[in-house]
């Protein structure tokens, strides 16, 4: 009897301590869980709800309209423009950023002195406030007063329209975004390159692989996890482009002939300038699905095991 009690006591006390710790855990989590429920999850659901209603902030009448908001979007040429532009930003910006970033990282890996200095210089735009950088770039691109055209003319080339030219504006904005994320890309690639075990490279060199062959056959495949991360992260960034576009083409909001308009800028104009919240919510629902799909797809494609 006495031994039974003695044996049961630590067990019961253990349970009590376990329960106590669980209580503490719930106490620690209480505020954050309420926060995530109230500020992230419920609003996301509410956004989907709004997307199937006619929702004008000034009118109290908000009838259910089913897929009507999505149909309105599908019929709006500006929405199509915004969607196509967004895809173009992704297709232009990300390859440029990744190729330049990898090239610079490989060069940085070769040098010893000033490596930190160069890395810091390339990284500076990444932490620069986007609005301030947008002003600077807007002026650099200025057709008559900007330094870029002065430089072009000084070397005998014709002046360009840049942000004022419907055919160039998107690329001009994309160049600024690449400038901004290049240093981030370099840092990530440099870390990825350094994580490749030396033995692989040395073994390949012993086997006679050099230069390009070494890069294509050994370095690039071993860099795969870094490439996956970069591609996914950058795609999500580019799909959500807004601040640069709004600030570099402020007067006409979306550039000449809506040539720089992105999905998020479209949503902003629809929801907060024309107060068509239902349609705007519908557009964000589409963006949400696209981001989700691309993330999953890209991970599948790029994370396929490499065959040697």
């Amino acid at each position: 009897m006495a031994t039974q009690v003695a044996a049961a006591r630590p067990l019961r006390r253990g349970l009590r301590i376990g329960q106590q710790r669980a209580l503490w855990a719930y106490l620690f989590l209480a505020v954050p869980l309420l926060f995530f429920a109230g500020i992230r999850i419920l609003p996301a659901i509410s956004s989907l709800y709004i997307s199937v209603h006619e929702w004008n902030i000034v009118s109290p009448n908000r009838p259910y309209v089913g897929g009507a908001n999505f149909q309105t979007l599908a019929a709006d040429p500006r929405f199509a423009r915004a969607a196509i532009n967004t895809v173009r930003y992704v297709l232009v910006g990300i390859p440029a950023q990744m190729v330049l970033g990898l090239g610079l990282a490989l060069l940085l890996q070769r040098i010893v002195r000033f490596r930190g200095l160069f890395r810091a210089l390339y990284f500076m735009p990444f932490i620069t406030p986007i609005v301030a950088a947008s002003w600077v770039w807007q002026w650099m691109y200025s057709v008559h007063l900007g330094p870029l055209n002065k430089i072009l003319q000084a070397v005998g080339l014709p002046a360009q329209g840049f942000l004022r030219d419907p055919g160039q504006a998107l690329y001009a904005v994309a160049a600024m975004v690449v400038w901004q994320y290049l240093g981030f890309q370099v840092v990530i690639f440099l870390a990825g390159l350094e994580a490749i075990p030396r033995v692989y490279l040395e073994a390949a060199e012993v086997d006679g692989a050099t230069g390009w062959r070494l890069f294509w056959r050994i370095t690039l495949p071993l860099l795969n996890p870094t490439l996956v991360f970069s591609a996914v992260y950058s795609t999500i960034v580019y799909l959500q482009l807004f601040t640069q576009v709004l600030n570099m083409t402020f007067q006409d909001q979306g550039g000449p002939l809506a040539s720089t308009l992105t999905l998020v800028l479209y949503v902003y104009q629809l929801g907060f300038q024309r107060f068509k919240m239902g349609e705007a919510a519908a557009a964000t629902a589409i963006l949400f699905v696209v981001i989700l799909a691309i993330t999953l797809l890209q991970m599948r494609i790029l994370s396929k095991p490499v065959e040697y």
Binding site: W24, F35, I57, A120, T128, A133, V136, T243, T284
Partner: protein, 275 residues
């Protein structure tokens, strides 16, 4: 590779390309500072350097616009948000990594899943919520969406997992309470991750634009990015003032970067590759 001779033409070429590239990357900064020092008469000159540098533009931005107020707004908002994120993200990260309780896995997955929701999808409900509650045009209204972050919880949880249980058990034997175990024993073990989280949270809020642009309605409540974006209205589209304002927004960030460079770059690597 490391034993390559100094005069190796490939190394020399690397230096040349890197130097040329960094000139291109640094040019916008140079242009901004040079222009901000030009007097109005010189602002549209082709010249890259001002012939008569002046700090007049800075004086004008600081005295004739609400720039100091926007600076203070941004500072207050970024500071409070950073403290909140640091505390709550660490607390949740600790609980998820080190405490046993029913529902732990589910809660973690739920928090991670919120990372998939893009901000754009949330700003409309946030705006409706803020209108209903009188949060429009208040500090609280600007800050509330960012007070706790799923990303930070994920980051800190990873690092908290590396804190040995023996350390916590030793604390328990010494009679340290559950909160003390987190605050006094676990938290000091993850200082580098906390430093990275604080720096990124501060910078992120310092630069935040979309939501502040929506929720702020009067000039005196503007944060620095919103104030700058609407600057042409205030400064009368004078490029010299806009450049001085931009420089004033960028320079503090660059100074912080120069001081904390190692932590920032290591933090990027830490967070980037762990994802």
């Amino acid at each position: 590779m490391a034993g390559r001779a100094r005069g190796d033409p490939r190394v020399v070429l690397s230096y040349l390309i890197l130097a040329a590239g960094s000139l291109v990357v640094a040019f916008p900064f140079f242009w901004m500072v040079a222009s901000s020092l030009k007097p109005l008469a010189e602002i549209f000159d082709v010249r890259f350097l001002p012939t008569q540098p002046t700090i007049e533009n800075y004086a004008e931005v600081l005295t004739r616009t609400q720039f100091p107020r926007w600076f203070a707004n941004s500072l207050i908002i970024a500071a409070i948000t950073t403290v909140s994120v640091a505390f709550f993200d660490a607390l949740v990260g600790y609980a998820l990594a080190k405490l046993q309780f029913p529902g732990r896995g589910l809660i973690f997955v739920l928090i991670l899943a919120t990372l998939m929701i893009p901000t754009e999808m949330l700003v409309i409900p946030w705006y409706i919520m803020s209108s209903a509650n009188g949060w429009i045009n208040t500090y609280w209204g600007i800050m509330f969406p960012g007070l706790i972050t799923a990303f930070g919880i994920f980051l800190i949880r990873q690092f908290m997992s590396g804190v040995p249980d023996e350390l916590l058990d030793a604390g328990r034997i010494d009679g340290v309470g559950e909160f003390g175990l987190f605050w006094r024993i676990a938290l000091p073990q993850v200082k580098p991750a906390m430093a990275a989280l604080c720096i990124f949270t501060f910078l992120g809020n310092w630069n935040a634009f979309l939501w502040p642009m929506i929720v702020i309605q009067t000039p005196n409540m503007r944060t620095l990015p919103v104030g700058l974006a609407l600057f042409s209205g205030e400064a009368g589209s004078s490029w010299n003032l806009i450049m001085a304002g931009s420089a004033l927004a960028i320079i503090p960030v660059l100074l912080v970067f120069l001081v904390l460079q190692r932590q920032i770059i290591e933090g990027i690597v830490l967070t980037g590759l762990r994802n």
